[in-house]
Assembly symmetry: D2
Homo-oligomer: 289 residues x 4
């Protein structure tokens, strides 16, 4: 995959006959060559049409802006589509919020620094100073925004101002503050959280302890988009690991951290590669399994 | 493993120094050779001592009953042990209860008929006739005990009478009737149920539909001991399978059935091989992973 | 998925701009509504175009034969496509060959009898009588074709004659005879074998014993198309299970059988649903993970 | 688990009746309290007795050296045991050898720096300078020992001298030089290598490319002890990940790196915790799954 030449088109709309033909004709006549296409209808009759395709841009016959404008008018409007075109070379500008635990943060920075996570890390913001040195060693910009019971609103305002320079994605990499509905409304389906349980099990606090007490045989973690309803946003990715009576709560937490960092890294990668569509509070992930 | 010569000893008690020495001395002096031993203390100080061991009986210097009596008096009483000795050749007499869905039942009968499940299937009891032919083709005894809103108590009584011939284990292989507290009290930690979700997620009815609606990325099943509290008994085994937006509820159910039958088969096997101890509403499974 | 109305189109050809547009236009203008499409190019420049799509036939404007003829002339020929259209209602006529071990056979018959395997089982053929009763209890037709060192060619001939009634798929469900190149040539990429190791490890005989001796920590099984080169045909599906020093060879075999039956069932299902394309001695599986 | 008070005893010897009793008596009478015990006989008759136990030392009635000397004379000698006692507080002094690829190295250093890997990293030695800064940022000592076709022997000598300060374990974290038999003989079963394939598949060079060409559906990695026979030493741990036709060789390598770092980290952890015994060129891993 050459990021310089690869673009992605994501579409969701009411399903009708002829959409694939219309879209592929449009692209063909504008010189865009489709190299991957994944389409799914939620129901053969009266369902929702969901599609992700990748196309190559070297032989485009128009500018990108003309292409998009033309697509909007001649294809998207008639079918009443939700759609977006993105270009692999335009990496999502990403802010990472973190508290004290650094495992998820470091995994993201590590993969990012190795070219495995196609994002630009614009800010790392924490309510603690603990991770500053590690963040800066990766060449990322660290901001300390302390949060107290009294300054919650102003702290959020300070974060929003930091993000105001065109932030495309906010990742909560174990950020232990609950964001207000107002904050969330600025980034609809653009905030990814890692929750330290296999949702919907163990919603809320201290899930590993509760998992140990319940005696589950698998523990897990869940990456999801943040919505107003805590722990209820659309799930992007989950994974689990087998545990046994030999593992105390601290070990479950340690295992859990390994799951968390991998699950979050996958979720961020899929978002960054425009592999995720929303459908009825659920994600459709066009993952490359 | 030779079932004719293999016995198992399971112990749980308050942890103290010297238990392993005392038990292994006892066995040695009675001519019992330990061939596998798995011991775990829930805490190095003031924890619970949990142990499973296998020993070989060919060179026993006493009868089994004398061995057990002597163990009770000289070892178990001083340490205030919960303990049991079982012999691999004495297979657990097992009744299977089932409603209409036969996948879990058939998996058990199949493994049983192939010698992979060391139990004796004494009864298959159903509130429907659907599985009679399949059950009888395995040479197992089928009983139809219809259940209606009006005869629930008498139906349970009828089942209890069927089981009164020394039943060691009751397996609910998708039995869709809720057993009364009275019934459960006859078989404490001797009733295994397969629940069609990854507990504690989706407790209650129609879990696969609710899993689809929540958009989880893994579905699962849980085998657990039945207690008075529905879906709250000690978990024996769980497993999951990855699913995606491409799978409709019916497919989740189909995948779920595959998980259910394997999870239940493992749980029954571990119970049959005396691999399970109870500790604070949790199972300690000395599994042979 | 309604099998009465669902058709599938599979295409592989040299990649060029416009193929998706051409194909989807063709379908649209013939009244075929695309409900799932999965397309992959092996390389953005000069690669191979690989595509599977599902379309619905209720509103087709021509007969199926006209549709296919027209597609052949106006679409497939100009692009020099390898292609096929199949209809979900026309189940693949499938023969299963088996020797003494019945686990893979029974899993297939079980899933088939439950409607989970969209094939027609036309013949079960064995060089032993052991599985006759089980096969016939599923209502399938059993044929005993003994094989000795002396009659190998005539036995194969007898099998070929049995299959001559339009067999679409031959499944070797632990058939312990090596098929001749002549036999294989009658069913190119239409014979699926289950091999009892994680290929290419442990090619050849007695893989579980060799796995135990090598001390591997995972054992596996592989479903593959049969070609002239033993154990070298395109791999369709594989899976593994964790094992440990506690497991003797017999237990590895038992675990292996569980993997084998599931891996084979998935491979047969994917073939039956026309999810598999060949590309350079490898399979492209448009699986619905 | 309190490392200050925890010791481990590992034993392998010909199996005989009474070993557990003898060992546990010995420990009891010396004030050592057993808190975990895992014992396995390779065969009920004439097999090998293999055992790992953990005991607590706060109430020891002798010094450690007296305890060990006494055990050697009164227990180990009569049974002709291979045995060792280790103390959790005495971390294995570990050297890591690496070439250019840093993923396995960094995972080890990361876990080590977080207290998740109970080793002391005494040296990181590389034939390249690439990883120096990263290594030193963890506070570990970096040594550059260049290797050319001409200086192989003297480079190995230089490494051996660096290791001569009581090195307990050598980890090859993607060290691309083949060690000589002489070098290996200094550290028998004390050198752990990570091999980038699911051994014994794809022994030798460039395994991911060969995996892609063979079209396997799972790729893997293997941690093993290094012996004179390249890629043939006892396997400690393996894992796999599902891949598909969508993944090019570079992606397989990227996925592989994730498997490699986790598999190696587990193997090193198990070695560090004295969980591994050797038995007939195979490992017995008393893992805490």
């Amino acid at each position: 995959m050459n990021p310089e030449t690869t673009a992605r088109l994501l579409i969701s709309c009411d399903d009708k006959a002829g959409i694939v033909a219309t879209v592929s004709n449009f692209l063909y006549h504008h010189g865009a060559n489709i190299t991957a296409l994944d389409q799914h209808s939620s129901d053969p009759e009266d369902g929702t049409f969901l599609m992700r395709l990748e196309f190559q841009t070297p032989h485009l016959k128009t500018s990108r802006s003309i292409l998009e404008q033309s697509f909007a008018e001649t294809v998207a409007r008639p079918y009443n589509m939700d759609w977006r075109i993105s270009y692999a070379a335009e990496r999502k500008r990403t802010a990472i919020l973190v508290s004290r635990q650094d495992h998820a943060l470091l995994e993201l920075l590590w993969r990012w620094s190795r070219g495995q996570l196609p994002i630009d890390v614009t800010h790392v913001i924490s309510n603690h100073q603990d991770t500053r040195a590690a963040v800066e060693s990766f060449g990322a910009s660290f901001h300390h925004v302390p949060v107290t019971p009294d300054n919650k609103a102003s702290a959020e305002q300070e974060i929003l101002e930091l993000l105001s320079d065109n932030t495309d994605l906010v990742v909560l990499a174990r950020y232990m503050q609950i964001l207000s509905a107002n904050f969330v409304s600025h980034y609809p389906h653009k905030i990814i959280n890692i929750h330290h349980s296999f949702l919907p099990a163990f919603i809320g606090a201290d899930p590993y302890r509760r998992a140990a007490e319940r005696g589950v045989k698998l523990i897990g973690a869940t990456a999801h988009y943040v919505t107003e309803d805590l722990d209820e946003g659309p799930i992007i990715e989950q994974d689990v690991k087998r545990v046994s009576h030999r593992h105390e709560v601290d070990e479950l937490k340690e295992f859990g951290r390994d799951i968390e960092r991998n699950v979050l890294a996958r979720a961020v990668r899929w978002h960054a590669e425009d592999r995720i569509l929303l459908h009825q509070n659920r994600t459709v992930v066009f993952a490359e399994w």
